[in-house]
Amino acid sequence: MTTFGPLAAISCYAALLGILTVAILTVTVRNLFHAAIFLAFTLLGVSIIYFFLRAEFLAGIQILLYVGAIMTLVIFAIMLTSRIGDPQVPQSNRQRIPVFILIAISAFFLIGAILKASWKTISTLQTTNAVELGKALMGEFVFPFEVISLVLLIALIGAIVVARSDP
Protein backbone atom coordinates (compact mmCIF):
# COMPACT_ATOMS: atom_id res chain seq x y z
CA MET A 1 0.00 0.00 0.00
CA THR A 2 1.22 3.47 -0.77
CA THR A 3 2.47 5.68 2.00
CA PHE A 4 1.99 9.40 2.15
CA GLY A 5 4.75 11.80 3.10
CA PRO A 6 4.33 15.10 4.92
CA LEU A 7 3.94 16.92 1.60
CA ALA A 8 0.80 14.90 0.82
CA ALA A 9 -0.66 15.68 4.24
CA ILE A 10 0.01 19.40 3.81
CA SER A 11 -1.57 19.49 0.36
CA CYS A 12 -4.56 17.48 1.65
CA TYR A 13 -5.19 19.98 4.46
CA ALA A 14 -4.76 22.84 2.00
CA ALA A 15 -7.37 21.20 -0.26
CA LEU A 16 -9.79 20.84 2.68
CA LEU A 17 -9.39 24.50 3.66
CA GLY A 18 -9.78 25.61 0.05
CA ILE A 19 -12.98 23.58 -0.40
CA LEU A 20 -14.49 25.05 2.77
CA THR A 21 -13.61 28.59 1.64
CA VAL A 22 -15.11 28.09 -1.80
CA ALA A 23 -18.23 26.46 -0.32
CA ILE A 24 -18.78 29.42 2.03
CA LEU A 25 -18.36 31.75 -0.96
CA THR A 26 -20.93 29.63 -2.83
CA VAL A 27 -23.63 30.12 -0.22
CA THR A 28 -22.92 33.78 0.57
CA VAL A 29 -21.96 35.52 -2.68
CA ARG A 30 -24.65 37.80 -4.13
CA ASN A 31 -24.32 37.08 -7.84
CA LEU A 32 -25.87 33.67 -8.48
CA PHE A 33 -23.76 33.03 -11.58
CA HIS A 34 -20.59 33.53 -9.54
CA ALA A 35 -22.07 31.17 -6.95
CA ALA A 36 -22.47 28.52 -9.66
CA ILE A 37 -18.80 28.89 -10.66
CA PHE A 38 -17.75 28.56 -7.01
CA LEU A 39 -19.97 25.48 -6.72
CA ALA A 40 -18.11 23.93 -9.66
CA PHE A 41 -14.82 24.51 -7.83
CA THR A 42 -16.29 22.98 -4.65
CA LEU A 43 -17.28 19.83 -6.55
CA LEU A 44 -13.85 19.65 -8.20
CA GLY A 45 -12.26 19.92 -4.77
CA VAL A 46 -14.37 17.06 -3.45
CA SER A 47 -13.10 14.94 -6.33
CA ILE A 48 -9.55 15.85 -5.23
CA ILE A 49 -10.43 14.48 -1.77
CA TYR A 50 -11.58 11.26 -3.46
CA PHE A 51 -8.18 11.02 -5.17
CA PHE A 52 -6.48 11.44 -1.78
CA LEU A 53 -8.64 8.59 -0.42
CA ARG A 54 -7.69 6.41 -3.42
CA ALA A 55 -11.25 6.23 -4.79
CA GLU A 56 -10.30 7.02 -8.38
CA PHE A 57 -13.47 5.67 -9.99
CA LEU A 58 -15.67 7.84 -7.79
CA ALA A 59 -13.48 10.85 -8.51
CA GLY A 60 -13.99 10.30 -12.22
CA ILE A 61 -17.74 9.94 -11.78
CA GLN A 62 -17.78 13.08 -9.63
CA ILE A 63 -16.07 15.14 -12.34
CA LEU A 64 -18.18 13.68 -15.16
CA LEU A 65 -21.58 13.89 -13.47
CA TYR A 66 -21.37 16.82 -11.08
CA VAL A 67 -18.97 19.19 -12.79
CA GLY A 68 -20.13 18.15 -16.25
CA ALA A 69 -23.83 17.46 -16.14
CA ILE A 70 -25.28 19.05 -13.02
CA MET A 71 -23.32 22.29 -13.41
CA THR A 72 -24.55 22.59 -17.00
CA LEU A 73 -28.13 22.20 -15.76
CA VAL A 74 -27.66 24.75 -12.96
CA ILE A 75 -26.04 27.39 -15.19
CA PHE A 76 -28.74 26.80 -17.81
CA ALA A 77 -31.45 27.40 -15.19
CA ILE A 78 -29.75 30.53 -13.87
CA MET A 79 -29.42 32.01 -17.34
CA LEU A 80 -33.04 31.25 -18.16
CA THR A 81 -34.69 32.50 -15.00
CA SER A 82 -32.99 35.02 -12.76
CA ARG A 83 -32.43 38.75 -13.09
CA ILE A 84 -28.70 38.57 -12.43
CA GLY A 85 -27.85 42.13 -13.38
CA ASP A 86 -30.22 43.61 -10.83
CA PRO A 87 -28.25 44.54 -7.70
CA GLN A 88 -31.30 45.83 -5.84
CA VAL A 89 -32.85 42.41 -5.25
CA PRO A 90 -31.73 41.00 -1.88
CA GLN A 91 -30.37 37.48 -2.24
CA SER A 92 -30.92 36.22 1.30
CA ASN A 93 -33.95 36.27 3.53
CA ARG A 94 -34.24 37.69 7.04
CA GLN A 95 -33.23 34.46 8.82
CA ARG A 96 -29.47 34.99 8.59
CA ILE A 97 -28.70 35.61 12.28
CA PRO A 98 -30.87 32.82 13.79
CA VAL A 99 -29.66 30.36 11.16
CA PHE A 100 -26.06 31.27 11.89
CA ILE A 101 -26.62 30.72 15.63
CA LEU A 102 -28.27 27.35 14.92
CA ILE A 103 -25.37 26.32 12.66
CA ALA A 104 -22.80 27.37 15.27
CA ILE A 105 -24.50 25.34 18.01
CA SER A 106 -24.78 22.29 15.70
CA ALA A 107 -21.12 22.61 14.68
CA PHE A 108 -20.05 22.79 18.35
CA PHE A 109 -21.89 19.60 19.30
CA LEU A 110 -21.05 17.72 16.08
CA ILE A 111 -17.32 18.43 16.24
CA GLY A 112 -17.25 17.65 19.94
CA ALA A 113 -18.93 14.29 19.33
CA ILE A 114 -16.61 13.44 16.41
CA LEU A 115 -13.44 14.26 18.34
CA LYS A 116 -14.62 12.45 21.47
CA ALA A 117 -15.60 9.20 19.74
CA SER A 118 -12.99 6.44 19.45
CA TRP A 119 -13.00 5.34 15.82
CA LYS A 120 -11.80 1.79 15.18
CA THR A 121 -9.69 2.65 12.15
CA ILE A 122 -7.31 0.27 10.44
CA SER A 123 -3.73 1.15 9.68
CA THR A 124 -3.76 0.80 5.88
CA LEU A 125 -6.05 2.63 3.51
CA GLN A 126 -8.50 0.23 1.89
CA THR A 127 -8.96 0.68 -1.83
CA THR A 128 -11.23 -0.78 -4.44
CA ASN A 129 -11.58 -0.48 -8.18
CA ALA A 130 -14.27 -0.27 -10.82
CA VAL A 131 -14.35 -4.06 -11.31
CA GLU A 132 -15.08 -4.69 -7.63
CA LEU A 133 -17.68 -1.94 -7.61
CA GLY A 134 -19.39 -3.42 -10.66
CA LYS A 135 -19.45 -6.87 -9.08
CA ALA A 136 -20.96 -5.41 -5.90
CA LEU A 137 -23.58 -3.50 -7.92
CA MET A 138 -24.56 -6.59 -9.89
CA GLY A 139 -24.35 -9.03 -7.00
CA GLU A 140 -25.04 -7.89 -3.47
CA PHE A 141 -26.72 -4.58 -4.33
CA VAL A 142 -28.67 -5.62 -7.41
CA PHE A 143 -32.07 -4.72 -5.93
CA PRO A 144 -31.20 -1.11 -4.94
CA PHE A 145 -29.42 -0.81 -8.30
CA GLU A 146 -32.62 -1.71 -10.17
CA VAL A 147 -34.69 0.59 -7.95
CA ILE A 148 -32.30 3.50 -8.55
CA SER A 149 -32.43 2.88 -12.31
CA LEU A 150 -36.22 3.05 -12.23
CA VAL A 151 -36.10 6.22 -10.12
CA LEU A 152 -33.67 7.85 -12.59
CA LEU A 153 -35.85 6.92 -15.59
CA ILE A 154 -39.06 8.21 -13.97
CA ALA A 155 -37.34 11.40 -12.79
CA LEU A 156 -36.02 12.17 -16.28
CA ILE A 157 -39.46 11.62 -17.87
CA GLY A 158 -41.03 13.71 -15.10
CA ALA A 159 -38.53 16.53 -15.61
CA ILE A 160 -39.30 16.65 -19.34
CA VAL A 161 -43.06 16.65 -18.67
CA VAL A 162 -42.86 19.39 -16.03
CA ALA A 163 -40.45 21.65 -17.92
CA ARG A 164 -42.02 21.58 -21.39
CA SER A 165 -44.19 24.49 -22.42
CA ASP A 166 -47.90 23.76 -22.46
CA PRO A 167 -49.27 22.55 -25.80
Binding site: M1, T3, F4, A8, A9, C12, Y13, L16, I19, L20, A23, I24, T26, V27, T28, L32, A35, A36, T42, V46, I49, F52, R54, A55, I61, Q62, Y66, I70, L73, A77, I78, L80, S82, P90, Q91, S92, N93, Q95, I103, A107, L110, I111, K120, T121, S123, L125, T127, T128, L133, K135, A136, P144, I148, V151, A155, L156, G158, A159, V162, A163
Partner: protein, 104 residues
Protein backbone atom coordinates in the same frame (compact mmCIF):
# COMPACT_ATOMS: atom_id res chain seq x y z
CA UNK B 1 -0.08 5.16 6.73
CA UNK B 2 -2.86 7.60 6.08
CA UNK B 3 -2.49 11.04 4.57
CA UNK B 4 -4.88 12.48 7.14
CA UNK B 5 -6.71 10.98 10.17
CA UNK B 6 -10.35 9.98 9.91
CA UNK B 7 -11.65 12.43 12.50
CA UNK B 8 -10.28 15.43 10.60
CA UNK B 9 -12.10 14.30 7.47
CA UNK B 10 -15.30 13.88 9.50
CA UNK B 11 -14.94 17.38 10.95
CA UNK B 12 -14.40 18.72 7.42
CA UNK B 13 -17.50 17.02 6.07
CA UNK B 14 -19.57 18.20 9.06
CA UNK B 15 -18.50 21.79 8.36
CA UNK B 16 -19.23 21.36 4.64
CA UNK B 17 -22.69 19.98 5.46
CA UNK B 18 -23.44 22.90 7.79
CA UNK B 19 -22.27 25.36 5.12
CA UNK B 20 -24.75 23.83 2.70
CA UNK B 21 -27.47 23.94 5.37
CA UNK B 22 -26.80 27.66 5.90
CA UNK B 23 -27.20 28.28 2.19
CA UNK B 24 -30.37 26.21 1.96
CA UNK B 25 -31.95 28.13 4.83
CA UNK B 26 -30.92 31.66 3.86
CA UNK B 27 -30.97 31.83 0.04
CA UNK B 28 -34.03 33.41 -1.53
CA UNK B 29 -33.36 32.08 -5.01
CA UNK B 30 -34.70 28.57 -5.66
CA UNK B 31 -31.67 27.67 -7.84
CA UNK B 32 -29.40 28.77 -4.99
CA UNK B 33 -31.24 26.47 -2.60
CA UNK B 34 -30.75 23.55 -5.01
CA UNK B 35 -27.02 24.36 -5.23
CA UNK B 36 -26.77 24.33 -1.43
CA UNK B 37 -28.47 20.93 -1.35
CA UNK B 38 -25.84 19.64 -3.79
CA UNK B 39 -23.14 20.80 -1.34
CA UNK B 40 -24.86 18.91 1.49
CA UNK B 41 -25.04 15.70 -0.58
CA UNK B 42 -21.34 16.04 -1.37
CA UNK B 43 -20.49 16.31 2.32
CA UNK B 44 -22.34 13.03 2.92
CA UNK B 45 -20.39 11.44 0.06
CA UNK B 46 -17.06 12.49 1.59
CA UNK B 47 -18.17 10.81 4.82
CA UNK B 48 -19.02 7.58 2.98
CA UNK B 49 -15.72 7.44 1.10
CA UNK B 50 -13.72 8.17 4.26
CA UNK B 51 -15.48 5.39 6.16
CA UNK B 52 -15.07 3.01 3.21
CA UNK B 53 -11.34 3.57 3.17
CA UNK B 54 -10.53 3.63 6.84
CA UNK B 55 -12.91 1.27 8.66
CA UNK B 56 -12.63 -2.49 8.81
CA UNK B 57 -15.36 -3.29 6.27
CA UNK B 58 -15.40 -4.16 2.58
CA UNK B 59 -14.63 -0.87 0.76
CA UNK B 60 -17.27 -1.53 -1.93
CA UNK B 61 -19.91 -1.29 0.77
CA UNK B 62 -19.40 2.45 1.21
CA UNK B 63 -18.55 3.37 -2.37
CA UNK B 64 -21.64 1.72 -3.87
CA UNK B 65 -23.81 3.98 -1.76
CA UNK B 66 -21.84 6.99 -2.97
CA UNK B 67 -22.85 6.01 -6.51
CA UNK B 68 -26.50 5.78 -5.41
CA UNK B 69 -26.31 9.23 -3.79
CA UNK B 70 -24.75 10.75 -6.91
CA UNK B 71 -27.59 9.33 -9.03
CA UNK B 72 -30.16 10.67 -6.58
CA UNK B 73 -28.46 14.08 -6.67
CA UNK B 74 -28.72 14.07 -10.46
CA UNK B 75 -32.45 13.29 -10.27
CA UNK B 76 -32.87 16.01 -7.63
CA UNK B 77 -31.19 18.55 -9.88
CA UNK B 78 -33.20 17.52 -12.96
CA UNK B 79 -36.62 17.50 -11.29
CA UNK B 80 -35.90 20.54 -9.11
CA UNK B 81 -34.72 22.69 -11.98
CA UNK B 82 -37.70 21.57 -14.09
CA UNK B 83 -40.01 22.70 -11.29
CA UNK B 84 -38.12 26.02 -11.12
CA UNK B 85 -38.67 26.47 -14.86
CA UNK B 86 -42.39 25.74 -14.53
CA UNK B 87 -42.76 28.17 -11.62
CA UNK B 88 -40.85 30.88 -13.50
CA UNK B 89 -43.12 30.44 -16.51
CA UNK B 90 -46.24 30.85 -14.39
CA UNK B 91 -45.18 33.35 -11.73
CA UNK B 92 -42.30 35.29 -13.41
CA UNK B 93 -40.21 34.89 -10.26
CA UNK B 94 -38.04 32.23 -8.62
CA UNK B 95 -37.63 33.97 -5.26
CA UNK B 96 -39.14 31.57 -2.80
CA UNK B 97 -40.79 34.17 -0.58
CA UNK B 98 -42.58 35.73 -3.53
CA UNK B 99 -44.17 32.44 -4.56
CA UNK B 100 -47.22 32.54 -2.30
CA UNK B 101 -49.94 31.13 -4.52
CA UNK B 102 -50.87 28.48 -1.97
CA UNK B 103 -50.95 30.91 0.98
CA UNK B 104 -53.78 33.22 1.86
Amino acid sequence: MMAIPLSHLLVFSALLFLTGLYGALTRRNAVGILMSIEIMLNAVNVNFVAFAGMLNAPPELGQVFVIFIIVLAATTAAVGLAIVMAIYRNQKTIYTDEIDLLKW
